[in-house]
């Protein structure tokens, strides 16, 4: 399944071949080889990776989590088996078609090079990706923007939300996509007379003027793109689409990327993963959020259409959670986690990363899944094989990082 599809992409053929077994809009079109995109989804609050890719073949998992473990495959509401040892949380079933097509992979026991159980500090390290240089002014996705093939376009990186996330902070301009329908609504600033007056006021070379001009440019592009693609809910006749608000936002981002080849990078963040109490298993707060996330990512992939084949989607979170459940049906701050990768260039259908097992003597500080793969190894691989950056440019994005790679991408 995997190799023929790769061959087709590389040959620039395949537009007549339908690859999806479940009705993905996944026709592969002749793709300009350099048109590659990267989208990062950050799950803030530390996702419990052991509930996402469940080590159901590991008895220690069930011993550590008498009340929180996702049941073995085949049991009621059990995990969906992936490879005989690991299984997917049942609430993520929307992603199963991607796994079966070989377009979804996981890297387990992945995370920061040094343990850090502070959300804010750990996110800082993961977003600056310059460990040891705490407080580095820019984020790694902004540095990435500076080394990608230059395109003259106002909007090359888009994030959801109204404040620039740490990962995109820096010199290169970045555009915001407002959540919800506000993204396409008119504003007083759209009126030419108002705009002209403020254009004059913010014509300088100071930071506010820069931000103002970037905002105006981005707004123009976003308005044009989203009005060109039409109101996304029309097709559903007003019925709520699966995945809730996140799916709607993800779809709009996808539309923007499809419509604008210059949009090379995308970023979305989702919160609410800090499940210290009542985490739940197949039901409960974690399952609810995972369902919305899975459906949202599936909607994103569908909306990308053929562009999915040229897009890499990485889902990351600052650290994992304690192997043992805590005293309140939850989990506390841990270390190793699972990193998700989806897209046409992913060597999917496989779980990567050294698996240390969950025996007490294998755990970090006696409590956490250790990290066997530095998250930067995965990012570096994506940069090199998917975004086709040379070693010097990878170094610029991930300063001070030695050349470890994980064989998780085609190039």
């Amino acid at each position: 399944m995997i190799l023929p599809r790769r061959a087709l992409i590389q040959a620039g053929l395949g537009s007549l071949v339908s690859l999806g077994t479940t009705g993905w809009a996944a026709r592969v079109q002749a793709a300009p080889d350099r048109d590659r995109r990267l989208v990062v989804v950050f799950l803030r609050g530390a996702l419990d990776g052991l509930s996402v890719v469940v080590p159901h073949g590991d008895g220690d998992y069930y011993r550590a989590r008498p009340r929180l473990a996702v049941p073995r495959p085949g049991k009621p509401d059990g995990a969906i088996d992936l490879d005989g040892h690991f299984g997917l949380h049942p609430a993520l079933d929307a992603l199963l078609p991607l796994w079966r097509r070989g377009s979804l992979a996981f890297v387990h026991a992945c995370g920061l090079p040094a343990p850090n159980r502070s959300h804010f500090d750990a996110q800082e390290v993961m977003e600056s990706a310059a460990p040891g240089f705490k407080g580095a002014a820019d984020g790694w996705m902004n540095r990435l923007l500076s080394v990608l093939p230059a395109v003259t376009a106002p909007v090359r990186a888009v994030h959801l939300g109204s404040t620039v996330p740490r990962i995109l902070a820096g010199e290169e301009p970045v555009a915001s996509l407002a959540p919800g329908r506000a993204a396409t609504r008119g504003q007083p600033l759209d009126r030419p007379q108002v705009a002209a007056a403020f254009d004059a006021l913010y014509s300088g070379s100071d930071p506010l003027s820069h931000a103002y001009r970037e905002g105006r440019n981005a707004r123009r592009v976003i308005q044009e793109s989203l009005s060109a693609t039409g109101e996304d809910d029309a097709a559903s006749n007003g019925a709520p689409l699966p995945g809730g608000a996140f799916a709607g936002d993800a779809r709009r981002l996808a539309q923007l990327m499809v419509h604008n080849p210059e949009v090379q990078l995308g970023f979305m963040a989702l919160g609410g993963w800090d499940t210290h109490i009542n985490q739940g298993t197949n039901q409960g707060q974690l399952a609810l959020r995972l369902r919305a996330l899975g459906q949202g990512l599936a909607a994103f992939a569908t909306e990308l259409g053929p562009l999915f084949e040229r897009t890499a989607i990485a889902v990351i979170s600052e650290f994992g959670r304690t192997v043992r459940e805590n005293g309140n049906g939850g989990t506390d701050h841990g270390y190793g986690n699972v990193l998700w990768l989806a897209g046409g260039t992913v060597k999917g259908g496989k779980i990567y990363g050294g698996w240390p097992g969950l025996a007490a003597d294998r755990l970090f500080e006696g409590r956490d899944l250790p990290v066997t793969t530095d998250f930067r190894s995965v990012i570096a691989t994506v940069l090199e094989r998917h975004l086709l950056l040379d070693g010097r440019r990878v170094q610029r994005v991930l300063p001070g990082f030695a050349a470890e790679r994980v064989d998780v991408m085609y190039s």
């Binding site: 159980r117 502070s118 500090d121 915001s176 506000a182 600033l189 403020f198 506010l208 210290h276 506390d332």
Partner: protein, 522 residues
């Protein structure tokens, strides 16, 4: 419409003195920069008449008054508005008694209501309950916004916001919604200029914090009271207490300290229904407390029940890392995003020797040469969305008849009130808030406000009110007069801004003033 009358008379004064638009603007450019500085930094910027008042009073006396807010009388109009907000007069225990726990839940907040019969009925009851709680949270928002815009005790409001963010809770997490207002009223505002140790103690046992950071479930494993969902330790509060409330992430604690501190706070929780009347909403449950000795930061805390927690809080409040952290945060809030290290050092020393007296630390700060460095640091801070919106509304002089109208814009600007999900609270730096989107949305807000409009109160629960089409919004006043607006603000404009104001159509000038670079900073 009092504000409008004022504006009217100001315009009249400008006209009578023969001032043209440009010269009226120019005449005030030399307005006392120090007066503006204290109005901007100790408060949310000038309302009509403030510059004149503070000029007459003198900046030093103004600062003294602000440091002792109880010496400043609040207008009866504000007091009666606040008094009309019923839940603002209720204690946390009152709220727990009145609203009870969520239908069908096992939470011990208050008396158990009779369980509804069917799942549908239960869901309906839960929905109705959420709506009632949201009503309480909305009153808390109204009170906060009313005070920020209309209270002359501006420093108290600024410090209340500062400490709320320092000890942040998120209104949309379950029962926190019920208590977010009483949290501000009971645990934050009374000590906003008082002792840090009192703030720490009050937040540690407030139901909003106990619920938000899960400590109400934190239980000594194997204790007699360990049962149901409360079987063992929960590190959430202990970790954030060290990382955010006191020492800071580089403050020299280990994972072991987090675990030991969690053990100290086992049993700190919410009262069962039958005890709320006598004990308030906070109860220490000795049957769930880990009785052993603990070692925190190298010091042994002997097993001693509730007292252990007080000992730990005291230790943390007096720790030098805490003094440094609070000093840095205050200097960052009042002086510059990257505050001068020498100033931080002096503030930390003052914190230390005054046993965490916030008023004393602030007095030192307001006397420091760094605070008065007009050349480098006046206007160096970029406003947060909250500060921008509140200061713009203050400048208009419009009476805030519908405070909730401001919640939509705040949400759209990325800073929903009581809506910071994570315990670190909102930042107040330019890096955090200056973005392309922030600029375009602020200018749209400015344009609408300048037209004398605010978004319809509508929907705090539904989609946030949009900043989109001004014509859909209710007219609250007449379009602002730009000359009057410039006078209120003390005309702090650069030559470039003045030039552009002068050559722009008069209908746009107020929007340009409210959206000027000078209005974005403070």
């Amino acid at each position: 419409m009092k504000g409008w009358q004022f504006l009217g008379s100001a315009i009249l004064a400008a006209v009578l003195s023969g001032a043209t638009s440009a010269s009226a603007v120019a005449a005030k450019t030399a307005a006392n920069a120090q007066v503006l500085h204290v109005l901007n930094r100790l408060g949310y910027g000038p309302r009509p008449g403030d510059i004149e008042r503070v000029s007459a009073l003198g900046v030093e006396r103004y600062i003294q008054q602000q440091l002792w807010p109880e010496t400043i009388s609040e207008p009866t109009s504000l007091l009666s508005r606040l008094a009309s907000l019923e839940s603002q007069r209720m204690s946390s225990a009152d709220l727990a008694r009145t609203f009870g726990p969520p239908p069908g839940s096992k939470q011990p907040a208050a008396r158990r209501s009779t369980a509804p019969a069917s799942p549908d009925e239960l869901e309906q009851a839960r929905e109705a309950y959420r709506r009632r709680l949201s009503g309480v949270a909305r009153q808390a928002m109204e009170a906060r916004l009313l005070r920020a815009v209309e209270s002359p005790r501006q420093l108290q409001e600024v410090m209340t916001d500062f400490w709320f963010n320092h000890f942040n809770v998120y209104a949309n997490k379950g029962l926190t919604r019920l208590w977010v207002g009483s949290y501000e009223q009971e645990a934050i505002r009374p000590d906003a200029l008082g002792r840090f140790s009192d703030l720490l103690a009050a937040t540690a046992r407030h139901p909003a914090m106990l619920f938000y950071l899960d400590n109400w479930q934190n239980t000594g494993p194997g204790t007699p009271g360990a049962q149901g969902r409360r079987l063992g330790l929960n590190e959430n509060y202990a970790r954030e207490l060290l990382e955010l409330h006191t020492l800071g992430v580089d403050g020299g604690y280990s994972q072991n300290d987090v675990t030991e501190l969690a053990r100290v706070f086992t049993g700190w929780g919410l009262c069962p229904a039958q005890r709320i009347a006598s004990s308030g909403a906070f109860c220490f449950d000795a049957s769930r407390h880990d009785p052993g000795d603990k070692v925190l930061l190298g010091l042994t805390i002997r097993g001693g029940g509730f007292e252990e927690g007080l000992q730990a809080l005291d230790l943390l409040a007096r720790h030098p890392a805490t003094a440094r952290r609070i000093a840095f945060k205050l200097a960052q809030a009042f002086v510059a995003d990257a505050p001068p290290p020498a100033l931080v050092g002096r503030l930390a020393a003052r914190f230390d020797e005054s046993a965490g007296d916030i008023r004393a630390v602030l007095a030192t700060l307001f006397e420091s040469p760094e605070f008065w460095n007009s050349r480098k640091l006046f206007g160096a801070k970029f406003k947060t969305p909250y500060r921008y919106v509140v200061s713009a509304v203050r400048a208009t002089g419009m009476p805030l008849e519908q405070p909730l109208a401001l919640t939509g814009p705040l949400t759209q600007l990325g800073m929903p009130l009581f809506g910071c999900q994570t315990p670190d609270g909102y930042k107040n730096t330019r890096t955090a808030w200056l973005s392309p989107e922030a600029m375009t949305r602020r200018l749209s807000f400015a344009t609408i406000l300048a037209a004398g409009r605010l978004p319809a109160v509508a929907a705090v629960d539904a989609a946030p009110a949009d900043l989109a089409v001004a014509a859909e919004w209710p007219q609250l006043g007449v379009p602002l007069n730009p000359d009057a607006l410039a006078l209120v603000l003390g005309s702090p404009f650069s030559a470039k801004t003045r030039q552009i104001l002068a050559r722009s159509p008069s209908a746009l000038r107020s929007a340009l003033i409210l959206g000027s670079p000078e209005m974005m900073s403070y």
